[in-house]
Subunit: 246 residues, 2 copies
């Protein structure tokens, strides 16, 4: 932003606020979380972990009865609904649909998602005989596509690097990984970081603006290579940052 000579005095003379503690995040325990595509492996795993952490979760799917069947299977008070109803009844909506249906699904839910905090966790990848590779959406990334298609929503990006197998593994108590959270507005990314923090072992870490979402989404292709080479379910930790003990 450039400051023109017609800038109002409060813009010009406002003191620089003290840097806010990046670990000081809001209480999100009372917010309802919808998971669109919650019957797929990634969405289902996230729904399970968030509900297990005490969050009210509504799984969304194209077919309400399929969503309800998965919700009943998972238990933990999880509810099921069709995608529009799941969106409308939630405060935060995680988009975990396949990349193929991403644009079409979001377009059809524009009104239902208006005013909501949207978390896109979709990884646009292609696969061939050599493995996985990054696809580049016209808008730059899945998250930026969501931002274009949902002008009335607050769009963020997060939860890209999680192993669905690990999320659903009932013997795993802690998810040993960080979640990079991207977005344009700090109050929104703070909420998403706080949501990630609800899951034991997980940390929500601010990772930049949406224009830098593509590489975060695409890095899943590299994690697939890691998993194949090391027979692992790899995640990522950011080093040199440490949450103060409370």
């Amino acid at each position: 932003m450039t400051t023109s000579s017609s800038a109002s005095s409060d813009e010009v003379h406002q003191p620089v606020p003290a840097a806010k503690d990046p670990w000081e995040l809001p209480d999100v325990s009372g917010l309802v979380v919808g998971v669109l595509g919650g019957t797929g492996p990634q969405g289902k795993g996230l729904a399970y972990r968030l509900a297990k952490a005490g969050q009210q979760v509504i799984i969304g799917s194209r077919a309400a009865d399929r969503a309800r069947a998965v919700a009943d299977e998972l238990g933990l008070g999880i509810q099921g609904a069709d995608n529009p109803e799941a969106a409308r009844r939630s405060d935060i909506v995680i988009v975990a649909v396949p990349w193929d249906g991403h644009a079409k699904t979001l377009e059809s839910l524009r009104d239902d998602l208006a005013g909501k905090l949207v978390i896109d966790c979709v990884n646009p990848l292609g696969f061939d005989k050599k493995g996985a590779y990054a696809l580049t959406p016209e808008e730059g990334s899945a998250a930026e596509q969501a931002a274009v298609l949902l002008p009335g929503s607050r769009v963020t990006a997060a939860f890209h690097h999680l192993s669905a197998v690990t999320l659903m593994d009932q013997d795993v108590e802690e998810i040993n990984t960080d979640v990079l959270v991207l977005g344009e507005v700090r109050t929104d990314t703070d909420v998403v970081q706080a949501l990630a923090d609800r899951i034991p072992g997980m940390r929500g870490v601010f990772g930049g603006r949406l224009r830098n979402a593509h590489q975060v989404e695409s890095l899943v292709a590299n994690l697939i290579s890691v998993n194949r080479r090391y027979k692992a379910h790899a995640g990522l930790r950011v080093t040199d940052i440490q949450r103060p003990r409370t």
Copy 2:
């Protein structure tokens, strides 16, 4: 690769070899490592750490006297030379030049780099008032550009996510980060992983083919956002993989 009906019998009947241990890497302690752009912060830091680990290092620069001055400053047996000589005298050549001069520098060194194992660690980034953002080279990534420009070299990509400040901090004994290593040929990526393993605290981790280098290079934009928010020198650890204790 498709198997046609004319495939030779050894292709068809060859037993599947046992998976090689991903942690079993060659001894690289006797290899000479050149660092092109070794007078810049990233190259200088890498030269320092590798030499400190016992590797013979030659710093390359456009001006030989500048390379020699930095080599003398660092000590540890590090030598300095102009870029062509540093390339010719080394077994492994790390490319740590600024992105702006990347293509031109490599083109001019094509013959000097023939037959060498090249490690590209360049991150093509742009900067504006909103911070850093990824640039997309025409070839897909800096590493793929290197592969195109150096048909006689074995090109890999690694050492992208290191903090130059941490590398040069003499109070830091261990570099607490993993190094994602990308390349097309396993014997090459194994050597680069082994080189990263030489630095205490660091692990070389296979991270896929060169076509997936762009997101690894670009992720530095996100780490810059992390560093700014958390006042850190962030790196990355890959979770769920563990080197066996020897």
